[in-house]
């Protein structure tokens, strides 16, 4: 076992950190509204209820066992000794947060931030499974995320695990860096979304026999755009609190982090609007919203290290990437991802992680290799593990709703009532019977 030290937190940092952490749930609220707006009207109540259930399950499972495996960097963890160097791979905290005094010291603040962050990661796949993912399966899948994949990877990055030790053990910069969770929250959520789309398959009527996708537009662009605004608040808080807790950033740099977060989102949203304007003749509201969120996602890893001009480049690239990748997934790879979770969170997050190496002033040489090892771990470990766990779950408990449920809509089939009972919803117009 080994013990690493959490970056010291001054009294000022602790007092500033708490209100910032309390704003983080706005990011989850924003994503829940976006998911609901981009889904169909007949699954709107189901979508919002799923977001609440996911947040609840994630919080409970994380407190019961997730934090025990993640740790906060200040407690002992299990290590593997390879070539004379020790590599931490899993924490050894007690279950149920036993023995932890919940005050303004660093570890309880980490627990509080993680309680919200794991919920945020778990909300991401909801949009990829929209209109066909059963509520019970959503909760079970969330339990796997909050109890296994998220804490394990978060320990490696934020809990003093082997990715964080790359700098000390191998001289690779400062080790893998991700202050706000581009990898730990966004990519982990994004690859879960990819696994879910693979396991569930496309919505009925989405692809014709020759593989051409049909347009199944979201039902409420206002919800989507309002969600973007709320997510912006949450993301500024998430990036700032994460940088202070996991990177030891001074409180004064919160201003820079908020400016960079905003610039990333702004340039990304505008880039997506311009690209869609060029491609389709008009800016596309849903893709521009996805661009906005992709900018926020990409900002998380690097916001503490970027200069404002570099933040604009990070955002601009994210906005172009998200439109291109969303098209690629739908038209070339037959991936039915109604809310674009894979392109926004997985691809945007991976870009954010790499941007630390390419554009940020993060420290000594070798940082690019540390970031690349992190990306390799997300693709080569987290994605197969997530897919495997959800595949196994699907064998035990079918995740996709019955055909009748898709025809009726998730609201009526699973909840017994629609979200908009006073409106006449023509829900069958896109369905192939």
């Amino acid at each position: 076992m080994t013990s690493l030290v959490v970056p010291p937190l001054s009294q000022v940092s602790a007092v500033l950190c708490l209100p910032l952490i309390l704003l983080v749930p706005f990011a989850g609220v924003g994503l829940a509204l976006i998911n609901t707006g981009l889904g169909r009207a007949r699954s709107a109540a189901h979508s919002m209820l799923s977001a609440i259930c996911v947040t609840a399950v994630a919080a409970l499972v994380y407190v019961i066992l997730g934090f025990a495996w993640q740790g906060a960097g200040s407690s002992p963890d299990h290590v593997l000794i390879v070539a004379g160097k020790s590599w931490g791979w899993i924490a050894t905290e007690p279950f149920f947060l036993r023995g932890l005094r919940l005050d303004l010291s660093p570890t309880p603040l980490v627990v509080l931030l993680q309680l919200f962050s794991v919920g945020l990661a778990a909300i991401i796949p909801l949009s990829s499974g929209a209109d066909r993912w059963r509520l019970g399966a959503i909760c079970a899948s969330t339990a796997l995320l909050a109890g296994c994949t998220y804490p394990l990877f978060a320990h490696w990055v934020w809990g003093g695990g082997w990715l964080a030790q790359l700098g000390v053990n191998c001289g690779l910069g400062r080790g893998f860096l991700d202050g706000g969770g581009s990898s730990t929250i966004q990519v982990v959520g994004g690859v879960t979304a990819l696994s879910i789309t693979w396991i569930l398959g496309p919505r009925r009527g989405k692809f014709s026999a020759d593989g051409m996708p049909a347009a199944l537009p979201g039902h409420n662009a206002v919800l989507v755009l309002l969600g973007c605004m709320l997510a912006w608040i949450g993301w500024m808080a998430l990036n700032s609190a994460g940088a202070m807790l996991f990177l030891g950033t001074e409180p004064g740099r919160v201003v820079l982090i908020a400016v960079n977060t905003t610039l990333c989102a702004a340039s990304s949203g505008l880039a997506a609007a311009v690209v869609t304007r060029i491609r389709f003749g008009r800016p596309d509201a849903s893709l521009s919203a996805n661009g906005w969120i992709a900018g926020l996602v990409a900002s998380s890893a690097a916001a503490a290290f970027l200069k404002p001009a570099a933040a604009m480049i990070v955002g601009g690239v994210a906005g172009i990437l998200v439109v291109w990748v969303a098209d690629l997934f739908e038209f070339r790879f037959a991936i039915d991802d109604p809310g674009g979770a894979v392109s926004v969170h997985a691809v945007g997050g991976l870009w954010g992680v790499l941007a630390v190496a390419l554009l940020a002033d993060a420290g000594p040489r070798g940082q690019w290799l540390a970031q690349l090892v992190g990306v390799a771990t997300l693709l080569g470990f987290v994605l197969p593990l997530t897919y495997g766990l959800n595949w196994l779950l699907n064998r035990l408990y079918r995740q996709r709703v019955a055909r009748e449920g898709e025809r009726q809509g998730m609201d009526l089939f699973e909840l017994g009532a629609g979200a908009y009972p006073e409106f006449d919803i023509h829900g069958d117009e896109f369905l192939q019977r």
Binding site: V82, A376, G380
Partner: protein
């Protein structure tokens, strides 16, 4: 084919981890990490490709 793709991704990650843990030379380490990532991308392409084939088989 999807299983093969996912196993290839795990194999690529194993190359990366082995390179980081065992190789002392920075150049060799970087080379093997890049090779591992390339293996992962090949595995990902295979997994994505299998997703294209499956619906057609199902139909």
């Amino acid at each position: 084919m999807k299983l093969a793709g996912l196993l290839l991704m795990v194999a690529g990650w194993a190359i990366v981890v082995a390179a980081v843990a065992l190789l002392p030379s920075a150049v060799a380490r970087a080379g093997f990490v890049l090779a591992g990532v390339a293996t992962e991308l090949f595995g990902l392409a295979l997994a994505v490709r299998s997703h294209l084939v499956l619906p057609a088989e199902g139909e």
